[in-house]
């Protein structure tokens, strides 16, 4: 097979490779860059693993590591970041390569310089690629020849090289310079094949830089060329950020209608609905996505919280139990245990709530932030009954120090304050929440707590007062 890259690119790639720590494969003089690169093949089927390995070897690849599952892949990538990842879409155990890619990108485990190539027999995966915001560098449809795989890798490597300055700037959070680099690329003839990537990176970088108006315009410009679902989702995200919730919701609804398999759009819709105070729709949206991608535990955690705020403690409990049983190797986290306790409390199951708090107390509480400490102490105090009064009083000193409470913290404080007949603190917290930016988000769960104590009327009075204040701002 002929060398797949030009001489300049080979030199450039070799410089890139040499900059990195020793990867195991020696940096000898080579005729083909593939010999210099470290490959990671992620595939759960042995026969396909062998085929892929033979393909890479036939292209001159030498250093090939194998991962047989989602977890194995994450472990290997964290230990030794490869240059090229070739990942099968179906990873077994209900996991997909797309989920792995999203997890790697969300946790910043995958540097931009690494090529991620998806291999799939599913034509339906193309629908996913055309929609989602986090895409692989390319994909190959099975069956394919080693030459086709080689071509895809070569093109992906060329693209990585073309964007390397931009990647460095973006990773260094030098957003202005990153956008300037993209603008400069757009003027270069060599960058012509990448013009849509440039448009997309530009919008994303502006969004990362907090330039919401400019990012919104950039997404609108892209949509005018073609209504890519990811661009519409980007636009919905910017509208959400600007608190233009009805428009954001209409836009994300269009995305879901266009791409029903684009699950991140469901997460975005749920966030928009929650911020609008529409927990019922948020729960419905997340439940739909969770049913179709049952191993996305992060989404299920959100679903449980949203269901709890929506007053559906049965669903909240069932989902949280699923999370704790299936995604808590090494014991439940403080966050999960607290959520379990809240669900049990809402359902009136005090023993289950105590068991969950027992698990919470076993986690490392030394490094938790003030808000999480307040949540822990307040839930525990309520469960201790009269004996918890002293604990509640102690934590009140921290509560007054916190200027803006997260919604969940405010709910835990209000619950504890009312349990210990401290109406003053409870009323102060709800007035603060209903008068602030998180009013719509906080309204329903706080009302639920007041209703439990037969205090809906005073709640409504505070609500009116807070609304008046917001109007006069």
């Amino acid at each position: 097979m002929e060398p797949l890259l030009g001489a300049d690119e080979i030199l450039s790639l070799q410089r890139e490779v040499k900059r990195k720590p020793a990867p195991g494969a020696a940096f000898k003089d080579t005729v083909t860059p593939f010999k210099e690169l470290r490959f990671l093949v992620i595939e759960d089927q042995e026969a396909s693993r062998k085929t892929l390995k033979m393909c890479i070897q036939s292209m001159g690849g030498f250093s090939i590591e194998i991962a047989v599952s989602h977890g194995d892949a994450i472990f290997r990538i964290k230990n030794n970041v490869p240059d090229i990842i070739i990942c099968d879409y179906i990873l077994g155990d209900g996991r997909t390569g797309q989920q792995l890619l999203e997890e790697l990108r969300h946790t910043a485990t995958l540097p931009n310089r690494v090529v991620f190539l998806m291999v799939t027999a599913e034509r339906s995966y193309e629908q996913v690629v055309s929609a989602v915001e986090l895409t692989p560098d390319d994909y190959v449809i099975k069956p394919f020849s080693p030459e086709v795989l080689g071509l895809r890798i070569e093109k992906a490597v060329q693209k990585k090289l073309a964007f390397r300055t931009y990647y460095d700037l973006r990773e260094a959070h030098q957003f202005d310079e990153a956008v300037q680099e993209l603008d400069a690329m757009l003027a270069r003839d060599q960058a012509k094949p990448y013009k849509y990537d440039i448009f997309r990176y530009r919008a994303e970088t502006l969004a990362d830089a907090g330039c919401t108006d400019e990012a919104q315009r950039a997404y609108e410009d892209i949509i005018r060329i073609h209504p890519f679902p990811w661009a519409k989702a980007g636009l919905a995200r910017m509208l959400h950020r600007k608190d233009r919730l009805p428009e954001a919701r209409a836009t994300v609804d269009e995305v879901i209608a266009m791409s029903p398999n684009y699950f991140e759009a469901y997460d975005l819709k749920a966030a928009i609905c929650s911020d609008s105070g529409d927990y019922a729709e948020a729960q419905k949206t997340l439940a739909h996505a969770a049913e179709r991608a049952p191993r996305n535990w992060s989404r299920k955690r959100t679903l449980s919280t949203v269901a709890l705020h929506n007053g559906d403690f049965e669903t909240a409990t069932a989902v949280m139990r699923d999370v704790v049983v299936n995604d808590a190797a090494g014991g439940a986290s403080l966050h999960d245990s607290l959520n379990m306790a809240r669900c049990a409390l809402a359902g009136g199951d005090v023993e289950a709530a105590k068991a969950a708090m027992h698990a919470a107390a076993k986690t490392n509480l030394d490094n938790v932030g003030d808000a999480e400490r307040v949540e822990f102490e307040c839930v525990l105090a309520v469960l201790e009954g009269a004996a918890g009064a002293a604990r509640y009083e102690r934590i009140c000193r921290t509560i007054v120090r916190l200027s803006e409470l997260p919604v969940q913290t405010a709910v835990d404080v209000a619950r504890a304050a009312l349990a210990f007949y401290d109406r003053q603190t409870a009323d102060r917290v709800i007035e603060q929440m209903l008068g602030g930016k998180q009013a719509r988000l906080a309204f329903q769960p706080l009302l639920g707590i007041y209703k439990l104590h037969g205090l809906e009327e005073p709640f409504r009075k505070i609500q009116n007062r807070a609304a008046l204040k917001r109007l006069h701002k």
Partner: protein, 223 residues
């Protein structure tokens, strides 16, 4: 140029598709069994050469039949819109290279494959479906071409024109007349695929014609 083929009556298709689907799966199953026997025989020094050759031929025959049925199913899905196009920005240079590689792997005959002018641009299209159509058109052309088959990609205002030209005897009259000849699944799919490419209210087309010197000219035009 004459517009391409009219679709067949869709009323029959659901029943046929179900039968085609089952038969295709049975053939792929048979293929894996033949392959297993082939591997066993290849490992055995005692296997008679004639049997090995016959088994190789049976393998190819079953593979061809299974692939043909798979193509029929693709056509069915396109009609039923179960498999709508996936529009992604595709650099045209990459597309030409991808198509060339795939066509070369299936090339039959002695004609040369020439990749002619390819406009340096990116087009929003379904890369895989368009590549399938072009590989099919190129390998088909190779069977009839005299000395060469040419692939060209040109941009004309808001349209991309992809042409496969050969120097063979050209299309039969009924093909360019717009009637569905037997064995034209590839052309039928290409016509559907082109038509499913829609942008700003404009749809793609397939046109079949014979060139001034007589060779076949297959042109996909995409908005």
């Amino acid at each position: 140029m004459t517009p391409a083929l009219a679709p067949p009556d869709e009323g029959f298709i659901d029943v046929l598709a179900s039968g085609v689907h089952d038969t295709k799966n049975t053939l792929f199953d048979a293929l894996s069994r033949i392959d297993a026997v082939r591997n066993t025989m290849a490992a055995s020094a005692a296997a008679p050469t004639e049997s090995v050759t016959l088994l190789d031929e049976a393998y190819v025959a079953v593979e061809r039949s299974a692939e043909r049925l798979a193509k029929l199913l693709s056509a069915y899905r396109l009609i039923r819109r179960e498999n709508p196009v996936v529009l992604l920005p595709t650099p045209l240079g990459d597309l030409a290279e991808y198509v060339r590689l795939r066509a070369a792997a299936e090339w039959q005959g002695t004609a040369a494959l020439v990749v002619g002018p390819v406009v340096d641009d990116v087009w929003i299209m379904d890369r895989e479906l368009i590549a399938d159509c072009l590989v099919n058109a190129l390998t088909n052309a190779a069977r009839y071409a005299g000395s060469k088959v040419t692939l060209e990609l040109r941009a004309e205002s808001d349209w991309l024109s992809i042409t496969v030209v050969d120097d063979g005897p050209g299309y039969a009259r009924e093909v360019i007349g717009g009637r569905t000849p037997s064995g034209s699944i590839g052309l039928f799919i290409a016509d559907k695929v082109a038509n499913l490419h829609e942008r700003n209210g404009q749809r793609g087309t397939l046109a079949l014609a014979n060139g001034p010197a007589g060779g076949a000219v297959f042109t996909l035009t995409l908005p």
